[in-house]
Symmetry: C2
Protein backbone atom coordinates (compact mmCIF):
# COMPACT_ATOMS: atom_id res chain seq x y z
CA UNK A 1 0.00 0.00 0.00
CA UNK A 2 1.38 3.38 -0.94
CA UNK A 3 2.05 6.23 1.45
CA UNK A 4 -0.79 8.68 1.85
CA UNK A 5 0.10 12.29 2.46
CA UNK A 6 -1.31 13.58 5.77
CA UNK A 7 -2.25 17.14 6.55
CA UNK A 8 -2.52 17.92 10.27
CA UNK A 9 -4.92 20.75 11.05
CA UNK A 10 -3.72 23.30 13.59
CA UNK A 11 -4.11 26.97 14.42
CA UNK A 12 -3.16 28.48 11.08
CA UNK A 13 -5.78 29.95 8.74
CA UNK A 14 -8.06 27.50 6.94
CA UNK A 15 -6.78 28.44 3.50
CA UNK A 16 -3.22 27.41 4.45
CA UNK A 17 -4.46 23.85 4.88
CA UNK A 18 -6.57 24.02 1.72
CA UNK A 19 -3.43 25.00 -0.16
CA UNK A 20 -1.46 22.18 1.48
CA UNK A 21 -4.07 19.60 0.41
CA UNK A 22 -4.17 20.96 -3.15
CA UNK A 23 -0.39 20.89 -3.36
CA UNK A 24 -0.42 17.18 -2.53
CA UNK A 25 -3.06 16.42 -5.17
CA UNK A 26 -1.22 18.52 -7.73
CA UNK A 27 1.97 16.58 -6.92
CA UNK A 28 0.25 13.37 -8.04
CA UNK A 29 -1.42 12.03 -4.87
CA UNK A 30 -4.67 10.12 -5.39
CA UNK A 31 -5.62 10.34 -1.73
CA UNK A 32 -4.90 12.93 0.93
CA UNK A 33 -5.74 12.41 4.61
CA UNK A 34 -6.76 15.38 6.76
CA UNK A 35 -6.33 14.86 10.51
CA UNK A 36 -7.51 17.03 13.37
CA UNK A 37 -8.06 16.89 17.11
CA UNK A 38 -10.40 18.84 19.38
CA UNK A 39 -11.96 22.11 18.26
CA UNK A 40 -10.12 22.22 14.97
CA UNK A 41 -12.04 19.18 13.72
CA UNK A 42 -14.50 21.84 12.52
CA UNK A 43 -11.69 23.40 10.50
CA UNK A 44 -10.85 20.00 8.99
CA UNK A 45 -14.41 19.77 7.67
CA UNK A 46 -14.12 23.29 6.24
CA UNK A 47 -10.88 22.34 4.48
CA UNK A 48 -12.42 19.22 2.91
CA UNK A 49 -15.55 21.10 1.78
CA UNK A 50 -13.57 24.00 0.30
CA UNK A 51 -11.16 21.73 -1.58
CA UNK A 52 -13.88 19.60 -3.17
CA UNK A 53 -16.51 22.28 -3.80
CA UNK A 54 -14.43 25.27 -4.79
CA UNK A 55 -11.18 24.01 -6.24
CA UNK A 56 -11.04 20.34 -7.21
CA UNK A 57 -14.39 19.15 -8.49
CA UNK A 58 -13.10 15.60 -9.04
CA UNK A 59 -12.27 15.17 -5.35
CA UNK A 60 -14.73 13.43 -3.02
CA UNK A 61 -14.74 12.37 0.61
CA UNK A 62 -13.94 8.67 0.54
CA UNK A 63 -14.00 8.07 4.28
CA UNK A 64 -14.54 9.91 7.55
CA UNK A 65 -13.59 8.42 10.88
CA UNK A 66 -13.76 9.73 14.40
CA UNK A 67 -11.91 8.55 17.44
CA UNK A 68 -11.26 9.52 21.04
CA UNK A 69 -7.68 10.09 22.16
CA UNK A 70 -6.42 10.42 25.72
CA UNK A 71 -3.95 13.23 26.19
CA UNK A 72 -2.11 14.50 29.28
CA UNK A 73 -3.46 17.85 30.42
CA UNK A 74 -1.43 20.68 31.94
CA UNK A 75 -2.26 19.66 35.52
CA UNK A 76 -1.05 16.09 35.00
CA UNK A 77 -4.46 14.49 34.51
CA UNK A 78 -5.71 12.84 31.35
CA UNK A 79 -8.27 14.44 29.07
CA UNK A 80 -10.23 12.80 26.28
CA UNK A 81 -10.22 14.60 22.95
CA UNK A 82 -12.18 13.72 19.83
CA UNK A 83 -10.24 13.32 16.64
CA UNK A 84 -11.32 13.28 13.02
CA UNK A 85 -9.70 11.76 9.95
CA UNK A 86 -11.03 12.63 6.50
CA UNK A 87 -9.72 10.77 3.47
CA UNK A 88 -10.10 12.72 0.23
CA UNK A 89 -10.01 10.78 -3.04
CA UNK A 90 -9.29 12.21 -6.47
CA UNK A 91 -11.18 10.47 -9.28
CA UNK B 1 -39.31 4.94 6.22
CA UNK B 2 -39.68 5.86 9.86
CA UNK B 3 -38.94 9.26 11.34
CA UNK B 4 -35.45 9.67 12.70
CA UNK B 5 -35.02 11.90 15.72
CA UNK B 6 -32.69 14.83 15.02
CA UNK B 7 -30.56 16.62 17.56
CA UNK B 8 -29.34 20.05 16.45
CA UNK B 9 -26.09 21.11 18.08
CA UNK B 10 -25.91 24.68 19.34
CA UNK B 11 -24.24 26.70 22.06
CA UNK B 12 -25.32 24.71 25.09
CA UNK B 13 -22.87 22.44 26.94
CA UNK B 14 -21.86 19.22 25.22
CA UNK B 15 -23.43 17.02 27.89
CA UNK B 16 -26.87 18.54 27.23
CA UNK B 17 -26.75 17.12 23.71
CA UNK B 18 -25.33 13.80 24.91
CA UNK B 19 -28.32 13.54 27.24
CA UNK B 20 -30.72 14.46 24.42
CA UNK B 21 -29.30 11.71 22.18
CA UNK B 22 -29.47 9.14 24.97
CA UNK B 23 -33.06 10.10 25.75
CA UNK B 24 -34.01 9.35 22.13
CA UNK B 25 -32.31 5.95 22.20
CA UNK B 26 -33.85 5.13 25.56
CA UNK B 27 -37.25 6.06 24.11
CA UNK B 28 -36.87 3.30 21.53
CA UNK B 29 -35.14 4.99 18.58
CA UNK B 30 -32.79 2.77 16.55
CA UNK B 31 -31.13 5.73 14.86
CA UNK B 32 -30.48 9.28 16.01
CA UNK B 33 -29.15 12.00 13.70
CA UNK B 34 -26.86 14.71 15.08
CA UNK B 35 -26.70 17.87 12.97
CA UNK B 36 -24.38 20.84 13.29
CA UNK B 37 -23.18 23.85 11.33
CA UNK B 38 -19.95 25.84 11.53
CA UNK B 39 -17.72 25.68 14.59
CA UNK B 40 -20.04 23.45 16.56
CA UNK B 41 -19.43 20.58 14.12
CA UNK B 42 -16.54 19.82 16.51
CA UNK B 43 -19.08 19.55 19.33
CA UNK B 44 -21.20 17.16 17.25
CA UNK B 45 -18.20 14.84 16.97
CA UNK B 46 -17.66 15.07 20.74
CA UNK B 47 -21.33 14.18 21.35
CA UNK B 48 -21.14 11.12 19.08
CA UNK B 49 -17.88 9.91 20.63
CA UNK B 50 -19.11 10.38 24.20
CA UNK B 51 -22.42 8.60 23.57
CA UNK B 52 -20.85 5.56 21.93
CA UNK B 53 -17.70 5.25 24.05
CA UNK B 54 -18.90 6.21 27.48
CA UNK B 55 -22.60 5.47 27.70
CA UNK B 56 -24.06 3.23 25.00
CA UNK B 57 -21.54 0.62 23.91
CA UNK B 58 -23.96 -0.84 21.35
CA UNK B 59 -24.15 2.44 19.44
CA UNK B 60 -21.95 3.00 16.37
CA UNK B 61 -21.57 5.72 13.78
CA UNK B 62 -23.47 4.45 10.76
CA UNK B 63 -22.89 7.43 8.49
CA UNK B 64 -21.18 10.81 8.47
CA UNK B 65 -21.90 13.41 5.82
CA UNK B 66 -20.62 16.91 5.30
CA UNK B 67 -22.14 19.66 3.21
CA UNK B 68 -21.74 23.36 2.52
CA UNK B 69 -24.68 25.65 3.19
CA UNK B 70 -25.08 29.25 2.06
CA UNK B 71 -26.44 31.53 4.75
CA UNK B 72 -27.15 35.26 4.78
CA UNK B 73 -24.63 37.15 6.90
CA UNK B 74 -25.35 40.19 9.06
CA UNK B 75 -24.20 42.63 6.38
CA UNK B 76 -26.54 41.17 3.75
CA UNK B 77 -23.98 39.07 1.93
CA UNK B 78 -23.92 35.30 1.71
CA UNK B 79 -21.48 33.17 3.65
CA UNK B 80 -20.68 29.50 3.14
CA UNK B 81 -20.78 27.34 6.24
CA UNK B 82 -19.82 23.67 6.54
CA UNK B 83 -22.37 21.35 8.04
CA UNK B 84 -22.07 17.87 9.46
CA UNK B 85 -24.63 15.14 9.90
CA UNK B 86 -23.80 12.07 11.99
CA UNK B 87 -26.17 9.11 12.04
CA UNK B 88 -25.86 6.97 15.15
CA UNK B 89 -27.16 3.41 15.01
CA UNK B 90 -28.07 1.23 17.96
CA UNK B 91 -27.40 -2.47 17.39
Amino acid sequence: MSEMPMIFIGKRPTMNYVLAVMTEFNSGANRVVIKARGRVTAKAIDVAEIVKNRFLKDVTIEKMETDTESLPSNDGRTVSVSSLEITLLKA
